[in-house]
Symmetry: C2
Subunit: 191 residues, 2 copies
């Protein structure tokens, strides 16, 4: 039986990703986000939403530089990802604190975090303040991935082993086994 | 070593969710989406992006009715979810074809699909055409969940067992084990 539960934003599964940008002094900021999605195929683009209060220094830096990188962390980095979400860049050089290194992206003036295995480089296409958050759509202009998560020239989901986040219970989850092929397993209904 | 891979939109993990709305004749449309995210806490809101070509009848219906429901399917419904993504509502009554039933939401004039265990009811807050897709932000005005996925009045991630989607290899994945508590496992770095 269906029941009403407390109104809360939710997505199942949501990712735990890390956005990074340079501030006006060229220092690297990074923060963890669960509000992130693919949003366009042509051009390839992602949308991230960050609390508008500007308590997150990375938002300020993205709005300033109009470029950012987005990393897709693996489960092995869950503690570092969590730290990047709970500490503020106003208080601490967070990446230095966790001994993560970074370098400028190839196509954008934003830092790529070397320790994460897959990152995209993005140029801001659109900004909108909606509800409590600022939605930033970024065109993906380059993708960098560690060789050890690539199979047949494509990023391998299982090798990357991405981290999922549940905003209701504030928990991180693994991602598991392959269930089936899209555009195939539903064909039995199409006749 | 990092290498550049083909430019493509990506999110790890991305969800496989189902949006539903009534068309101008009151018929229920539903389609599967991987472009979806939480985007605001106050009010609670989600953003979905649908190909702007209007080949997807559900987009037309949402733009007409300005209300929609979003279901978070479980792994057990992977084949039905896939079908709702590959067939068009212009060709077929898709929900009838898979023997799924629906009823009007409590707070919105949009169909809730009874067979999915968790759904949110949404009122459109904002629409933007960006890249190849139309971004629709919806305020969550009600949440309905099956009692059997609820623990301590909250939706239970593991009981829901949500479906993840990989747009690079067109594959569905399970979501697995709990890795840790957010706002806790990173505290070891904060001192």
């Amino acid at each position: 039986m269906k029941v009403n539960v407390k109104n809360h934003t939710m997505m199942y599964p949501a990712p735990a990703v890390v956005a990074s940008a340079y501030d006006e002094n060229g220092n690297a900021d990074a923060c963890t986000l669960a509000f992130a999605t693919m949003c366009s195929h042509h051009p390839p683009a992602v949308m991230i939403a960050i609390n508008t209060t500007l308590k997150r220094k990375t938002l300020k830096s993205i709005l300033h530089s109009k470029e950012f990188c987005l990393a897709y962390p693996s489960v092995e980095h869950a503690a570092e990802v969590d730290y990047l979400g709970i500490e503020s860049g106003y208080n601490e050089d967070k990446l230095a604190k966790i001994n993560f290194t970074h370098q400028k992206g190839e196509k954008v003036n934003a830092p790529i975090i070397n320790d994460f295995k897959v990152s995209v480089e993005c140029k801001v296409m659109h900004i909108a303040e909606i509800g409590s958050h600022t939605q930033i759509t970024g065109e993906i202009v380059n993708v960098q991935a560690d060789e050890d998560v690539i199979t047949n020239n494509k990023i391998d989901f299982l090798k990357l082993n991405p981290l999922a986040y549940d905003d209701i219970t504030h928990s991180y989850y693994n991602t598991g086994e392959k269930i089936g092929d899209a555009f195939k397993i539903g064909l039995k209904y199409k006749k």
